[in-house]
Symmetry: none
Subunit: 248 residues, 2 copies
DNA sequence: CATAAAACTGCATAATCATGCATCAAAAGT
DNA sequence: ACTTTTGATGCATGATTATGCAGTTTTATG
């Protein structure tokens, strides 16, 4: 059994039972507990599960803790930190939702004045922790799964916005397929957000590079900044270098 | 059972019953009382529960809150329960924010289909816990103190809404001064919400009766339902009976 | 203030984890 | 085809963690 398969299986088990035990998995998959531990570590690092002593738990159910998640999110935190460099005082920023973005929202500076425009409930809630930002929420029908507003009214409101920077996470990015997503409504909103901004920054962990989903949002040529946890000169990144204006 | 699971279970129990006993938990979870004590200590340290001799209590209920605040909590639950009677399948409901409203949002039925329209970030977040409701969020500039959207754009959007019922909490209500509030922006939004609804329900604990704030929202005559923790025939209530259509 | 329940302390133990290293297989060069 | 490289895996070892137990101290309460 391949590593990838095994990890998929672990995720499935967690989705099913909300928890897994290392001993249990080791026996059922016929590999050593060390291997399982390494799998859990990797999955935890990319934020898919919550690793605990003795096994792992479903992230969605057992989320809230702060301390032990600091270590889990190293990749996303790295991305978030790099993104900070794009911020300039007085900017109007359109910002999306998603886990990578959330990491970014947690480490924002307290000495800049910025105006954030968002359709994401989680982003707005996170931003309320800061006193130095204006928050403008664009309403609409709330999509339960993604916790953000979508639909015609949202798109219409976005058409009236002119932001300096648009910061989005993504599920898939590929040279041919461009930026893409599996949720049709999300695609519409993201398109509108990109159209409403002078510059576009896409945040993603490198494992999403080279994958594509059902609906295209934009071509890679329209992305100004691509920010991953890797160094810009990493061989994995250089193949994107021609198309995207700046890789960070 | 994993430590984290156990602790999560303890939190759930506290949310459910507002208290737990060490002995009880030890028996039910099949671990020593020492372990339970260590769990309670940890949870208490991270501020999730209030540890006391013999077990632990719900922080939100008992912590450092004064007697009268605990009392106010039960009053709000009582109000919330009475409000449930106004709901009918298929309704479009404009709903505000505030603590009384939040209690109401916690006990909503899971078998009705309703559409909630709100400007309150806390209300929207709370509503996302239900799968049987549509949620429409009206955007705007978010006011940090109240965590809801206000401003011209919000008012404009409310003008296009026609809801069946508007449910609002209030800080002040008085026969002469009518419904009033000290926050100017909130007043504008509440006015617009009331205008956009066929029926208006005001939720308030009785201590707010007879007080007034700087800005008037509406006259009491425009309130359809006034819901307090008191019985409608309570002498304190009967003086309102002439003006307000229905006291619950 | 007497008493029992509960909490704390230190310690023992077993389970779990981290780390370095050896092995093997697949992939990549040459 | 042969070597080199890379990555995944298992194992040994020492560290860490979770938990229970015994003995002592603290707390609640009549």
């Amino acid at each position: 059994m391949l590593k990838k398969e095994r990890q998929e299986y672990i995720i499935k088990q967690i989705n099913l039972h909300n928890k897994v035990l290392s001993t249990d998995l080791s026996e059922r998959l016929g590999v050593s507990e060390d291997t399982i531990r390494r799998d859990l570590k990797a999955l935890s690092k990319s934020g898919k599960i919550l690793k605990v002593h003795g096994g792992a738990l479903s992230k969605t159910l057992y989320s809230d803790t702060r301390e032990d998640e600091i270590y889990a999110y190293t990749e996303k935190v790295r991305i978030a930190n790099k993104t900070l460099n794009l911020l300039q005082n007085g900017m109007y920023i359109l910002i999306g939702g998603g886990t990578t973005i959330r990491e970014f929202l947690k480490i924002l500076p307290k000495d800049l004045h910025l105006t954030f425009i968002t359709v994401s409930l989680t982003a707005a809630t996170e931003l309320l922790n800061y006193t130095n930002y204006e928050i403008i929420f664009l309403g609409g029908k709330i999509s339960r799964s993604t916790r953000f507003c979508a639909g015609g009214e949202t798109i219409r409101q976005l058409a009236d916005v002119r932001a300096d920077l648009c910061i989005l996470g993504t599920n898939a990015i590929d040279l041919d397929g461009g930026l893409s997503d599996s949720d049709y409504e999300a695609v519409q909103v993201k398109k509108a957000m990109i159209n409403a901004s002078s510059k576009v920054a896409i945040l993603t962990i490198s494992e999403k590079l080279g994958s594509r989903e059902r609906f295209r949002i934009k071509n890679t040529a329209e992305i100004d900044y691509l920010i991953t946890e890797l160094h810009p000169n990493d061989p994995l990144m250089t193949e994107y270098a021609l198309n995207i204006k700046r890789i960070i």
